[in-house]
């Protein structure tokens, strides 16, 4: 057993048994900000007038400024997208998603997942647009054996490293049935998201030893019994710290905490069309050790 883990074990035992550690460690913390979008739907420019509450909002050039300012103010930042970048304006009809991914690369996205509409022009067209994306894509509930080129471009999970901090990121997508024409997802089979996530979370936690697991979910926030959604997933499956959601275009004012057997999972989603940029700031104990006693024990 490594020294670090051994000390952690001791600390965890003390927390549960009520023993006092001989030397109280000084908590050293690290901060992380998650910035995120979902269902941007080719809204390259702001919504025009006559669009109700979203009139005049959004626009990728403004989003770029906002992200740049936040990055300059904050230390550790990840910019993430929960899918459905494609479809919704003539920009998509004309540029087939290439422009969206080009601009997302300029803005500095760190990772994105795929939504059902990202398959609207088929797998080949998606791959062509992906040539403009200078960021990785994550998804763990697609069987892409029949689409090897896409499998090379979409990874089941990834780890982003900052000094003293490792963040595991994965993604899931909603069932294609009824949403994506069969010819448009040829070679890509949809798999149950919960069963697909279990080994990924285990791997990220136990092998990669990440401090935080973030799920980019294109399942929808609350489908009211119409399928597995973010609320059901969060309540069922422990091990995910944050679900950045999409698909249902849900405007949440703040993350919703869902209890599960591992503690809680935060679920957030910020509408659609890029009218909002989601922001979540976290503090983590540096080198935090995971223990069921509840408190993170800092290890030096």
């Amino acid at each position: 057993m490594e020294r670090r883990n051994f000390i952690a074990t001791l600390g965890a035992a003390a927390a549960v048994s009520g023993l006092t550690l001989r030397a109280e460690p000084t908590p050293e913390t690290v901060r992380l900000t998650l910035l995120h979008t979902n269902d941007t739907h080719s809204r390259i420019e702001p919504f025009g007038p006559g669009n109700g509450a979203v009139s005049g909002k959004g626009g990728m050039a403004r989003r770029a400024t906002l992200v740049k300012e936040l990055r300059s103010q904050l230390g550790n930042v990840l910019l993430l997208d929960a899918g459905d970048v494609f479809q919704g304006t003539p920009f998509f009809n004309q540029y087939k998603g290439s422009l969206d991914y080009q601009l997302m690369s300029m803005i500095g996205y760190d990772a994105a997942t795929l939504g059902n509409h990202d398959f609207d022009n088929g797998v080949e067209a998606l791959l062509k647009a992906m040539n403009e994306a200078k960021f990785p894509f994550v998804n763990c509930n697609f069987d892409m054996k029949g689409a090897p080129a896409l499998a090379k471009r979409v990874q089941p999970w990834l780890v982003k490293k900052f000094p003293g901090l490792k963040v595991g990121i994965t993604g899931v997508c909603v069932d294609f049935q009824g949403l994506v024409a069969p010819k448009n997802h040829e070679g890509v089979k949809w798999l149950d998201p919960i069963e697909s996530l279990k080994p990924v979370i285990k791997h990220l936690r136990e092998r990669e030893k990440v401090d935080m697991v973030v799920l980019l979910s294109h399942l929808g926030y609350d489908l009211k019994g119409g399928g597995i959604d973010d609320r059901t997933l969060a309540a069922t499956l422990p091990g995910i710290d944050v679900i950045i959601g999409g698909h249902s275009h849900t405007f949440l004012d703040a993350p919703v905490s869902i209890k599960n057997s591992g503690g809680e999972t935060l679920v957030f989603q910020v509408g659609f069309g890029g009218v909002n940029l989601g922001r979540m700031d976290f503090t983590l104990a540096k080198g935090a050790v995971k223990a069921s006693s509840g408190g993170a024990l800092p290890v030096h």
């Binding site: 057993m1 074990t9 035992a13 048994s17 420019e45 702001p46 006559g50 669009n51 005049g56 909002k57 990728m60 050039a61 403004r62 989003r63 770029a64 400024t65 906002l66 479809q87 919704g88 003539p90 009809n93 004309q94 601009l103 300029m106 803005i107 609207d120 009824g178 949403l179 994506v180 010819k183 285990k202 136990e206 009211k224 019994g225 119409g226 422990p238 710290d241 949440l252 004012d253 703040a254 993350p255 591992g262 809680e264 957030f268 910020v270 009218v275 909002n276 940029l277 989601g278 922001r279 979540m280 700031d281 976290f282 503090t283 995971k290 223990a291 069921s292 006693s293 509840g294 993170a296």
Partner: protein, 264 residues
Amino acid sequence: MKAFLTLLLSLGLGLTAQTHPKLERAQPIPVTDAIAEDPAVAKVIAPLSLELKASFGKELVQCPTGLMRGKFGEENLLGYWVADLMRERAQQVVGAPVRFAITNAGGLRGNIRPGVVKIADVYEVMPFDNELVVAEYTGAEIIQIVKDAIRRRAGEPCSGVSAKVLGTPEKPEFSITWSDGSAIVPTETIKVALSDYLLASGDTISTLRNGRRPITTGVPLRDLLLDACTKLGESKTPLQAPSALRYEFAPGIYQALRDKKIVW
């Protein structure tokens, strides 16, 4: 060490169980005109936007009232207009009566707002490259399709039928007839206009996948809408809302459909 681990297990510890990062702050930040545009990103967008405006900015027709999709279960006048056009064009193409047309509300991605309708507006309504197809269903299947549409979405936009849900949420009663009130004969074979997407996938209505003897018309749905707007514009006729009241619900039914509290 082994004994120590055993002790840990007896204390109920799991080393893989998680503790959570502490959330300090969270908010959606509105992206408004108070935020300046990033010059580098704006520089990429500007010429492409101009190019699009040149090709998509053409004015087609006036629509004084607008055509709205409605919300869950409300009258989807935009959808009715699309379904009527689909049925009409399908009849022209196959040269035979097409008594029913259906589209899916989710496939209409924008509203036609009151005022001038431009090509870009039609693209926003129908961004998908779906094609109009005609397939055959039995009368019984059409009734099932309409019922499923009501169950799942409080009704999808359709043309040719009239649907009522009477009774109570605890005991709903369907009445589905042709729009003139005549009965749909369950064994009769009916030609139906729909999109190739709906025929292939069914969306949330699996019976739609049963369509037999499909005929591809070669007409993209978006072109259908563009043609209709162009013709009206050329004849200086405004685009008007189609007939409504295609779905009617007894008191309490609509809300129960919204809340998915109907006992089927």
